[in-house]
Amino acid sequence: MSRPAILSVGAALVAFLLLWQAVVIVSGFPPFILPPPAAVLGRLATAWTAGTIQPHLLATLVEVALGFTVGAGLGLIAGYALARSALVERLVSPYLVAAQATPILAVAPLIALWFGPGLAGKVVICSLIVFFPVAVATMVGIRSVDAGLLELGRSLRATRRQILTTLEIPAALPSILGGMRVGVTLAVVGAIVGEWAGAERGLGVLINLARGSLFDIPLMFAALVTIALVGIVLYLAVVLVERRLVGAR
């Protein structure tokens, strides 16, 4: 990242913190409703040094990683099948849309009931939420592969597999990675929702603990900041991959 870009990001962060502080002052809310940024950052530092956040963060990261991998993997396969088979699209699309239209919050308790409070349920919820954007992006990407390139592949006697790996996937990559950008942030949402539906560890659990039995609102905010940071880091990771694979075209 260039120096001006770093400066602008830093300036935006400072502006956000100042705005937050201004809202605290103007609203007059007590710290147990809206703590000032300094209190939250201080609580984040103490929670981090005390080792309060790490086990929850690790649990959430594992759920996100597995959920994203499974959801994105299935999304890629389904998206390709949807793009290349009219029959699959006719049969599967209505269910996909219905599944996407049903709020994950409403489905999460059911999944927790079926899969229990362990890792499997969170991974399923994450996968479900990641699946749709990746599947749709893959479908759109594969469908928009230049027919001329496919004809080129055929003229060079490329096998079905070679066409997939050397033409279709690279050509559809910008679209697929766009879907993954959305999917990776949704994976974090899925993990938190899954933890709320029943879990022993995770940043969602920490939020519930901070809000409930601990009544430690700055800790709750610290957990929220951590979740936001996880989302930003994962998003940036996908952007980096995208720049590396697609940027130079």
Partner: protein
């Protein structure tokens, strides 16, 4: 370098395409054409007469409804490694460097990297590509360089037949003349049979041994005109009297074909 193979025989090829709302649009009608191995034939005709379709049939990309295409004695029913195809637009893979685009057919054919690299050097020399740009992506190349890369890619597997579908049509007139001459030089070195689809009568005369004129759709051969120019050829040859005569004959057949349609 003399090559014995690379003779093409198109015999009574019919082809039609389905149209929206039912029915079929005839594109080729009893198309018959013979090209001797190592020859250069230019295919000329009005827009939509089926020139590019014929090229795709010869390349094995389209199956005719009737008739046959043979390369030497082998029927062409699918893409064949002995046939190289250059499209009107370069069709380079934008995520690959020029070098990786050139060696793409070799990669598909399973050539090991060392052998690909050696062949790349030969091809870069063959098409007079600036070695300094082989690491560039297509977006960083000029239109002419991109078409040069496409040409090198088509020649990668040393095809006996090179099918060229208006490959220089997007270039300006001067570049086009230069590329036509380079094509001739390339032909002398690679000795492939060349079938060139073009809209330019001057280009056809400069490059080809014969000019085959096609009728408006459905395409069939309405004239097969020999070009009486000696080789090697140069741009100055276009000023020869025989060129005007040949051009006049090509125009006359094109005009008759359109009038009949």
């Amino acid at each position: 370098m003399t090559r014995v193979g690379g003779a093409i025989r198109v015999d009574g090829v019919d082809l039609s395409f389905p149209v929206r709302g039912g029915g079929r649009l005839p594109v080729l009608d009893g198309m018959t054409l013979e090209i001797a191995g190592g020859g250069i034939v230019a295919l000329i005709g009005p827009n939509g007469c089926g020139k590019s379709t014929l090229l795709r049939v010869i390349a094995g990309l389209l199956a005719p409804e009737r008739g046959t295409v043979d390369l030497d004695t082998t029927p062409i029913v699918e893409p064949d490694p002995r046939i190289g195809l250059v499209f009107q637009e370069p069709r380079l893979l934008p995520w690959r460097s020029a070098a990786d685009n050139i060696t793409y057919p070799l990669e598909l054919a399973g050539w090991p990297p060392a052998r690909r690299s050696k062949r790349l050097t030969e091809l870069v020399d063959l098409v007079s590509l600036d070695p300094g740009v082989t690491g560039n992506r297509p977006a960083e190349l000029s239109g002419g360089t991109r078409q040069r890369v496409a040409l090198a890619r088509a020649l990668a597997l040393e095809p006996e037949v090179l099918l060229l579908d208006e490959p220089f049509s997007a270039l300006d007139a001067l570049s086009r003349e230069r590329f036509d001459l380079e094509l001739l030089r390339l032909w002398e070195r690679a000795a492939s049979t060349i079938l060139l689809v073009t809209h330019s009568i001057a280009e056809a005369i400069l490059v080809a041994d014969r000019i085959v004129v096609m009728s408006p759709r459905p395409g069939r051969v309405i004239a097969d005109i020999p070009v009486e120019l000696t080789r090697p050829r140069s741009i100055d040859d276009l000023d020869a009297a025989v060129v005007s005569e040949t051009a006049r004959e090509v125009r006359r057949h094109l005009g008759e074909g359109e009038a009949a349609a």
